[in-house]
Amino acid sequence: MSDKLKVRIYNVRFGDAVLVTVPDRTAAGNPITRRILIDVGNAPLVASKVGGDDAVFRPVIEDILNQLGGRQLDLYVLSHEHLDHAQGLLHADRKLFPSGEFAKRFRVRHVWLTASAHPDYYESHDKAKKQRDLAMAEYKAIKSYLSAIAVESLPAFQSLLANNNPQSTKACVEYIRGLNPKRTHYIHRGVKLTGKHGFNDAKFSIWAPEEDTSDYYGRFQPLGLLESAPRGAPATEVPAPPAGVDLGAFLNLVESRTSGIADNLLTIDAAANNTSIVFLLEWRGWKLLFAGDAEIRSWKTMQREGVLSPVHFLKVSHHGSHNGTPDGDLFEAVLPTVPSDNRKRRAAISTWRDTYNGIPHTPTDDRIKTRAELTSTLDDEQALFYELEFEA
């Protein structure tokens, strides 16, 4: 048995699928190989044929099953409820295998979902519920508006709309919950991990999310939609300016009345990203951080709660966006200018081009490269995966 921890990052285009193979020990002290699978998903196909090509899933799933070799997966982690992290397993079950076959071959001992994915979460968290309800009302209004108009920019919004579609995500999360309902655990910082995984040598620390997710929501921009239900149905024709008003200024105003749509979709998107499970895996002196899609609000909370510390491996958050790896003292806390020891530091990005605006983000890549050896799925776009090894 290899005495190396391996992080295999699959090329799922714009999404995440990460298999971690961990040399561990049984309770009796015998060597055993355990595996963690973190997310399987990519951008919704409807949104992006470039980053969301579902054809990539077949070889990825087959490789995962080969790696498991018929054994149960020890831990499946769904970092957060977004399709580019969640849709792969449901897709495999429904599209890649005859009915029931995938479920037979893909068995999981423990499932981790973010705390707010608990079916009763919003019944017990009033503040978060208010924010969530507001976000969903905004989502519905925007979706209704966008479906009522035909504008050239519509495709640009499809990624965000589809990725945040609560119905699509719900089906994926329910499928994942069903992988092992009795051992599905809802994770947040401070939760006790006893009984929530079977690892002995490897240690887990949960850095995020907070149990109360209400702070992860940002502000919404005002939209010139309707003032009463059903919100969203607008005039489908742009009105003409009255006499005495400049045409350009008028059209600019009309456009501005709905220009906050992108802001509001991104606010909804960021709120879900910030519920990402961020965990540190410590194994024989190595510190590996898996950050999901945590954005700056989550990183700031982690800093405020005093959980940030130097790591040897960073699974770069949010496909390499700037908000996923904030600069300054946050960056310094995780990848300090002066390393905490002599171990090599590495970072890995799973991303794709032409799917989301501003991602990948070259200045962020360059900044990470000043502190760690950076590998990206874009380094070899044809490769099924790349793998990093950590020797004991």
Partner: protein, 591 residues
């Protein structure tokens, strides 16, 4: 051409419970033409149907019967005593009237003395009375508009465009963006708070121009110090948001920056709306004090002492002042005259102070200095308002001592002696040469590149012992950037901020043999407190997700996100722009 339009007094709720007539007539005489809308060359009301998004037909303009008479707008259901629904036509016309009333305050010859220009490249401000569902209103430079939303509150629908306070507030934002455009990109919370404070004080000045409200105040008391009719901002709006709240903000306050102030008077130094209450409170206190002093003096005599106002400033009798609103005001002529004189004096020095503001990130102390300079220039012989302002700024912890407000005024300087001022006005090269040869005068650090802004040519009414006269000034503004450090989570430590200097030159009267004088020279101050405030404010922008770096400020369509404050990092140094992408009436966009 003239037009007379009915505008809503204060707001429908206040006029109902105060028992004042809900509307009064405003005459607009500054525009060449008026069209259905209402629309003028500088203001267009565009009423979008909230149900469909379509544009409603404009309210019909009725031209005057004779060339020198006033036109009107056809409002089928004028707002009557006792309130009731405000029709969309009445709302649109009131909005138009209040915007023009606010513009006039700034443009009068005893204030800026020039036609204002907007902060965007277009002659016309667009006003949307029913912009959508939101308890807020805002000015937005990018869409060249002020937008007024409505919401359900207190069992009714409240339209922010029906509040004279809110309309004046947003109009003032739009005007100030033209007067001091650098405030739009400022990182210093006090710079943004100046915007809010000037907007609130403009609402007060607008209310003081309402005969209905003057009568309400002076009929019931002789003072304005214990009435909130002028100082209470957006009463109906605030009550609908929260029934326990009387006003959105009350300028008659004791808010302070002093760490020794009682906790209820302290403010959040990173919240421009909260912070603005300190400046507004200080300036409003000065207004009350001058009013009270004048009222006392006018009870004794037609003339106030020269320390308080210039004689020519109040060259009408108390008895004449009683004619100001003869049928309506039972208050004493002394109080009416005092209110008028104090209000005018306050208005002109505040707005002229804004004109003197140097480019870049300015603080309350900087504005204090420019107001003092403007007051000194306009009224060299009556210093009481300056003394009061200095005392109030010290008392509220805005400055630690009066020396922080010291500003040099009315002096000659060899650099402008013999200078062709027309060349200076029209030639960027001449302006650049003047500044570059006199860096010390402009306080520009060595080796720093600077930008000379377009010069302003203004002619204003001034008062001196020998009487009032029109004075021409050239305002020359220079800006440059400097680097400072501050630790903000997630951002580079170094950042760029803009500083600048304003030089005001008095142009000798035509045919005069006298040489030009420097009215004042004011440079943005530097303080550790302002730097700390910027750091805290940046932290807040990051925390709220408002600050976006580089391309992340762009949305999926490649256009800049509407609510994003954009930061760019070059050579490890951060530069932030668009901190004021919205200038809301309240910092609470959603309840």
């Amino acid at each position: 051409m003239k037009v007379r339009v009915p505008v809503i007094v204060k707001d429908p709720e206040v006029s109902r419970y105060k028992g004042v007539h809900p509307t009064e007539t405003v005459e607009i005489d500054t525009e060449e033409r008026y069209l259905d809308g209402p629309i003028s060359p500088r203001v267009a009301v565009l009423d979008f149907d909230p149900k469909s998004g379509g544009l409603e037909p404009g309210v019909r303009f009725v031209p005057p019967a004779k060339p020198d008479a006033a036109g009107s707008y056809e409002v089928p259901d004028p707002v009557g005593r006792g309130g009731g629904e405000v029709s969309r036509e009445a709302g649109a016309v009131s909005l138009f009237g209040t915007i023009h009333k606010s513009i006039k305050l700034f443009e009068e010859e005893d204030a800026l003395g020039r036609r204002i220009t907007w902060g965007f490249d277009s002659p016309q401000l667009l006003a949307v009375p029913r912009a959508g569902e939101l308890p807020n209103a805002f000015y937005e430079r990018a869409s060249q508009s002020i937008q007024f939303f409505s919401f359900e509150g207190g069992g009714k629908r409240v339209y922010t465009g029906h509040s004279q306070d809110i309309v004046a507030h947003e109009t003032a934002h739009a005007i100030l963006d033209g007067v001091a455009p650098d405030l739009y990109d400022a990182l210093t919370p006090q710079s943004l708070a100046i915007h809010e404070s000037v907007a609130d004080l403009t609402a007060v000045l607008c209310a003081m121009r309402s005969e209905e409200l003057v009568r309400e105040v002076l009929d019931n008391r002789e003072t304005i110090g214990d009435s909130n009719v002028f100082s209470g901002i957006a009463e109906e709006f605030a009550g609908a948001l929260n029934e326990r709240r009387d006003y959105l903000r009350n300028l008659n306050n004791k808010k302070s920056l002093s760490p020794k102030a009682p906790s209820e008077h302290r403010v959040d130094r990173t919240d421009p709306h909260s912070l603005s209450e300190v400046l507004s409170g200080a300036l409003y206190r000065v207004l009350i004090d001058i009013f009270e002093e004048l009222r006392g003096e006018y009870h004794q005599s037609d003339k106030a002492s020269e320390e308080v106002v210039e004689e020519e400033e109040a060259s009408f009798s108390v008895e004449q002042a009683r004619q100001y609103a003869p049928q309506k005001t039972s208050g004493t002529g002394a109080a009416v005259k005092a209110l008028y004189v104090a209000g005018q004096r306050f208005k002109r020095t505040l707005y002229r102070g804004l004109d003197y503001l140097p480019p870049g990130d300015v603080t309350f102390a900087d504005l204090g200095r420019t107001i003092l300079a403007a007051d000194q220039a306009s009224h060299p012989d009556s210093s009481r308002q300056r003394d009061r302002l200095g005392d109030e700024f010290v008392k509220r912890g805005i400055v630690s001592s009066l020396t922080d407000l010291a500003v040099q005024t009315n002096f000659s300087h060899p650099s402008i002696t013999g200078l062709d001022l027309e060349d200076l006005l029209h030639s960027d090269y001449v302006a650049y040469q003047l500044v570059n040869a006199n860096r010390r005068l402009f306080n520009i650090p060595d080796e720093v590149t600077f930008e000379v802004r377009p010069r302003l040519d203004v002619t204003r009414l001034y008062w001196h012992r020998e009487g009032k006269r029109m004075v021409r000034e050239i305002l020359l503004k220079v800006g440059w950037t400097e680097t400072e450090s501050g630790n903000v989570t997630g951002l580079p430590r170094k950042r760029r901020i803009t500083r600048g200097t304003t030089l005001a030159i008095e142009v000798p009267a035509s045919g005069s043999s006298s040489t030009p004088m420097i009215r004042t020279v004011v440079t943005t101050g530097q303080s550790a407190a302002a730097r700390r405030d910027r750091t805290a404010f940046l932290d807040r922008l990051v925390d709220t997700g408002t600050l976006r770096l580089g391309d992340e400020a762009l949305g999926p369509t490649g256009q800049i996100l509407r609510g994003a404050v954009r930061g760019d990092v070059r050579n490890g140094t951060l530069k932030v722009v668009g901190t004021n992408r919205f200038l809301h009436v309240t910092g609470e966009p959603r309840p």
